[in-house]
């Protein structure tokens, strides 16, 4: 049965999105159980529970409801499982942040409190603005260089006016505008590759050389980006964006040569970073032999792993661990807090939800008509997946630490909002292109929705 691709009514959408309603309801229930665990634990360890402590959960439930209604009213027919997965993950993040005490500000309307609702709002607004194929307008050649210029300009401004803190550069109030690059760069690349897809896929005959003429602006752009990010000491972001570049080139041109060149370049860069940056070498040492300097450079990761060991298979429940012994656990090491309080099973659940999110994202991207939409989808999913992998891999010591937050769960407003905005884009793409010429097949078999 094929559904009509033309506009549908609100009542129809209400029926269409019943699964989403059902799943979001269960998400709220699950997160509510988590909050009950937390309230109980702090109550029975002597802390009092204020009425205001109910606010985060209330806001979460309300914003999920609002999100759902907004999508229905906008007659959105895109993916429902992505919405569920992100609702669950951000609920998990909300729990973890609440547990780490991120909401214990004097001001009742603390910024952290409204962060998740704002995120959902951003997601739905981005989605509604761009749905029905309106996102295509943002892929024109003129806007392409706007996205590129915006990215570099943002970084340059940040370097000029930003302040250094814990090795990184931040704008006022520890906002990290560089997070926005995770969207703007993808948009730039998607447009660039779409416009030059043919040239980029033409590697000539016999010689294994990429089309350098076409690539030149891109290479130049990437060198400037690399330089700016190096000055900012944000190697993690550079890796994330480079992986996205590679995946988008592969998806856009289907030429395996890019993978080979990227592997060679990555190896050279890895060695270079090891040798050139003392910072990098220390991190690699802390990674390879953490017990050389257990109380120094490896302290944080070993404390995180200790917490996870202490959590075991199930953990003792939210609020029952002692994640305060892991330094700055609420940001990059939030995954180890989950491992400590909900054990291995809790971690596995988080990873499965991430996999659902990425899997659905990939399938949306591959089913989209038009290279631009596909590339934006692939790029955004790659950025999120690479972030997740680098963060979780870093915390579990599988890969070196890169200082990358875990999407939707780590503390940090900029990262959170960017994540939600990316998903807004992805949802908009999943809505398809409504106003195209109706296909013959679908108009024939048009049946009323049940």
């Amino acid at each position: 049965m094929t559904r009509a691709s033309g506009p549908i009514g609100i009542a129809e959408t209400w029926d269409l999105r019943a699964p989403e309603r059902y799943l979001l309801g269960w998400c709220v229930l699950c997160i509510a159980l988590g909050f009950c665990m937390l309230w109980g634990s702090s109550h029975f360890s002597g802390d009092s529970i204020a009425w205001l402590d109910l606010l985060p959960l209330g806001l979460f439930a309300t914003s999920l409801m609002a999100l759902h209604l907004l999508l229905v009213v906008a007659r959105f027919r895109g993916d429902q499982l992505i919405v569920t997965a992100v609702a669950f993950l951000s609920g998990f993040g909300l729990l973890a942040q609440y547990r780490m005490g991120s909401f214990e500000a004097q001001d009742p309307i603390a910024l952290n409190l409204v962060l998740f609702p704002t995120g959902f709002l951003v997601m739905s607004v981005v989605c509604i603005i761009l749905m029905r194929g309106r996102y295509l307008a943002w892929g024109s050649v003129h806007l392409m260089w706007m996205w590129g210029g915006l990215s570099l300009g943002l970084l340059a401004l940040l370097l000029t006016f930003g302040q250094r803190f814990r090795g990184g550069v931040y704008a006022a109030g520890l906002v990290t505008p560089s997070e926005a690059l995770k969207v703007t760069i993808v948009l730039f690349l998607a447009a660039f590759i779409t416009h030059h897809a043919k040239a980029l896929g033409d590697w000539g005959k016999g010689l294994p050389f990429p089309p350098l003429r076409t690539l030149l602006p891109l290479v130049g752009f990437w060198l400037v980006l690399a330089a700016l990010l190096m000055v900012q000491r944000d190697l993690g972001l550079f890796i994330v964006l480079s992986v996205a570049l590679l995946m988008m080139l592969l998806a856009g041109t289907g030429h395996i040569g890019y993978l080979i060149y990227a592997t060679i370049t990555a190896l050279i860069l890895a060695v270079g970073v090891m040798w050139l940056l003392p910072h990098g070498e220390r991190r690699v040492d802390a990674w390879l032999s953490p017990f050389q300097d257990p109380t120094g450079s490896s302290w944080q990761i070993l404390q995180g792993l200790s917490g996870m060991y202490s959590g075991g298979l199930w953990g003792d429940g939210f609020g029952r661990g002692s994640p305060e012994y892991t330094p700055i656990a609420e940001s990059d090491f939030i995954y180890s807090v989950i491992g400590e309080e909900l054990g291995f099973v809790g971690c596995a659940i988080v990873i499965v939800f991430f996999l659902v999110l990425f899997g659905r994202g990939v399938s949306v991207a591959t089913r989209t008509r038009g290279t631009y939409g596909q590339l934006v989808g692939i790029g955004l999913i790659t950025v999120l997946a690479t972030q997740t992998f680098l963060n979780i891999g870093g915390v579990t010591k599988l890969v070196p630490m890169t200082g990358i937050p875990l999407p939707f769960i780590s503390h940090g407003g900029s990262s959170l909002i960017t994540g939600f905005a990316s998903l807004g884009w992805l949802l908009a793409i999943s809505d398809g292109q409504a106003d195209g010429p109706p296909r013959k097949q679908s108009s024939k078999k048009k049946t009323p929705a049940v």
């Binding site: 665990m37 997965a85 060991y309 202490s310 075991g312 659902v356």
Partner: protein
């Protein structure tokens, strides 16, 4: 302010919430799986490309992360450094690492040599017979780390090396039930606690070592080094290098000493294998390879000179008598007669200049050093003569001498010394020919029954062996006894060393006799 009722049911409610949280999450996942067709994006075109490859890539990447995570989170006990880090640096009160009940260390009869006990929420490692066993058992201390078997077998003791279905089942049960007092696995040693204690008592007050092992399967029944230290009380002072007594040094397996006359066992083996027969003349004035060097003389010469009398010399000696009387003049000539290469070949066969592995895990190895026989200049005949009587450049460890004695008692075949009962007995090396060993046994018996060791000859037990009195530049001679018992069907080989103990027959040999008699009482010679 919100007031929650104070309920005794909270632990139950907490578990219910915890389980409920997981079940709800699983329900969401299951519903997503069930609803994937209902929520399929029918308005989008069919995919041109298969999404299987990226999905498999993503899934396998994250599965790899989870599997690797499990090696820390679930089987962290297999990482001894990690467990040690947590025990020392982790302040989480409920971390199971703090309450691991390490497995016990037992002797071959099951007597407990080390165990863990929780006292007021803190787990301590206790050693009932402290110093006597330290050099084998070692210690496990949160701040100073671990040594000996405690270090080598730490993973097994922590419970991180489950064997068989029941071992894994046990680990799984501890994980599923979130057991905060994890139990490790016991480690059974081949030592005999009573014999070890006796050896420690006999050597106490001396600096020395004693090793007793079974010739046929290499089971080490006692391995003592004195002075020792108390593993229940590890202090930083112990690790300062200034103490000349060096209590941390395991003299039995690591201490290199000149063997003195005990080395003549090797020369006798060399002579037998080279087909020696007849006699060598051993004049009282001694033997030297050159007029420029001091003559090598027999101890009777010095005794006579001290008594202001004249000794006529041994005259012509055959091998058995020379070994029984421990004639330096005889063996010095013997060594020079067969030359450097013959000695090096024998040394190589007996695994000199190396180490022997007793027990190995991925986290460490329990090894013993073997003796040292350096290559001399081929023209250095006097050096060879010196080495032939166990002086000069040759050095041995007590454990190696015990192993050589054991090989002779076992038809020339050395079995790899074993400290862990569950290690299978394995042959190490044929040290000497079977026929050689058979001829050496009566010779060594004679050295005790009517030779230099006759002071320890006992009607209760036929001991065979060789005394040794090793001159050294640091003071009085080191006292040695190397042998086995009973001579007719050897069950235990022994090496005893007492630093600066004087004559071998005066100090080391009586200790060896007492130990072998005690072993007989304990049924270890059955």
């Amino acid at each position: 302010m919100l007031t929650l009722p104070n309920s005794d049911l909270w632990p139950l409610i907490r578990i219910a919430l915890h389980v409920g949280f997981f079940l709800t999450a699983f329900h969401i996942l299951k519903s997503m799986l069930d609803l994937r067709r209902v929520t399929a994006l029918r308005h989008l075109p069919r995919p041109k490309r298969s999404v299987r490859f990226p999905l498999i890539l993503l899934a396998s990447l994250f599965t790899a992360v989870l599997l690797y995570q499990a090696t820390w989170q679930l089987t962290g006990t297999a990482r001894p450094q990690f467990i040690a880090f947590m025990q020392l640096h982790d302040r989480r009160q409920f971390n199971p690492a703090h309450r691991i009940q390490r497995g016990r260390i037992l002797d071959h009869r099951g007597e407990v040599l080390a165990y863990s006990q929780e006292i007021l929420g803190q787990v301590y490692r206790l050693y009932p017979d402290g110093p006597a066993f330290t050099h084998v058992v070692g210690y496990s201390h949160p701040r100073y780390g671990a040594a000996g078997m405690e270090s080598v077998a730490t993973v097994q003791l922590n419970g991180g090396a489950p064997t068989g279905v029941s071992g894994w089942g046990n680990l799984g049960r501890q994980l599923v039930t979130q057991d905060k007092r994890r139990r490790g696995q016991d480690l059974m040693l081949t030592l005999d606690a009573e014999l070890q204690r006796t050896a420690f008592r006999l050597l106490d007050g001396h600096r020395g070592a004693a090793v007793l092992l079974r010739p046929d399967d290499g089971a080490v029944r006692a391995l003592v080094s004195t002075p020792s230290y108390d593993p229940n009380r590890i202090t930083p002072a112990l690790f300062r290098d200034s103490d000349a007594a060096a209590p941390l040094l395991n003299r039995a397996t690591q201490g290199l000493y000149p063997p003195g006359s005990a080395f003549k066992i090797l020369l006798a083996a060399l002579a037998i294998e080279s087909g020696f027969s007849g006699t060598i003349d051993c004049p009282a004035e001694g033997f030297s390879t050159s007029a420029r060097y001091r003559k090598i003389r027999d101890h009777e010469y010095y005794t006579a000179r001290r008594g202001r009398s004249v000794w006529k010399g041994h005259g012509p000696l055959d091998l058995t008598t020379a070994l029984a009387r421990s004639s330096n003049v005889f063996f010095a000539q013997l060594g020079v007669r067969y030359g450097h290469e013959a000695l090096y070949r024998l040394a190589e066969r007996m695994l000199f200049n190396g180490t022997i592995l007793l027990h190995e895990t991925p986290y460490g190895a329990w090894t013993m050093r073997t003796g040292e026989i350096p290559r001399l200049d081929p023209s250095d005949q006097y050096g060879l003569a010196q080495m032939s009587i166990g002086q000069g450049a040759v050095l041995v460890t007590p454990a190696h001498m015990a192993l050589i004695a054991a090989s002779i008692a076992n038809q020339g075949l050395a079995a790899r010394p074993r400290l862990v009962e569950t290690d299978a007995p394995t042959p190490l090396r044929q040290f000497v020919h079977r026929a050689t060993a058979q001829r050496l046994i009566p010779m060594l018996r004679k050295a005790v029954s009517s030779g230099t060791g006759r002071s320890i000859d006992s009607p209760l037990l036929e001991i065979a062996g060789k005394t040794g009195t090793a001159e050294n530049p640091h003071g009085a001679s080191h006292s040695w006894f190397v042998g086995f018992a009973p001579a007719a069907r050897p069950r235990l080989a022994i090496a005893v060393l007492v630093e600066h103990g004087g004559y071998g027959s005066a100090t080391a040999a009586p200790i060896a006799r007492d130990l072998l008699l005690r072993a007989a009482d304990l049924g270890l010679l059955e």
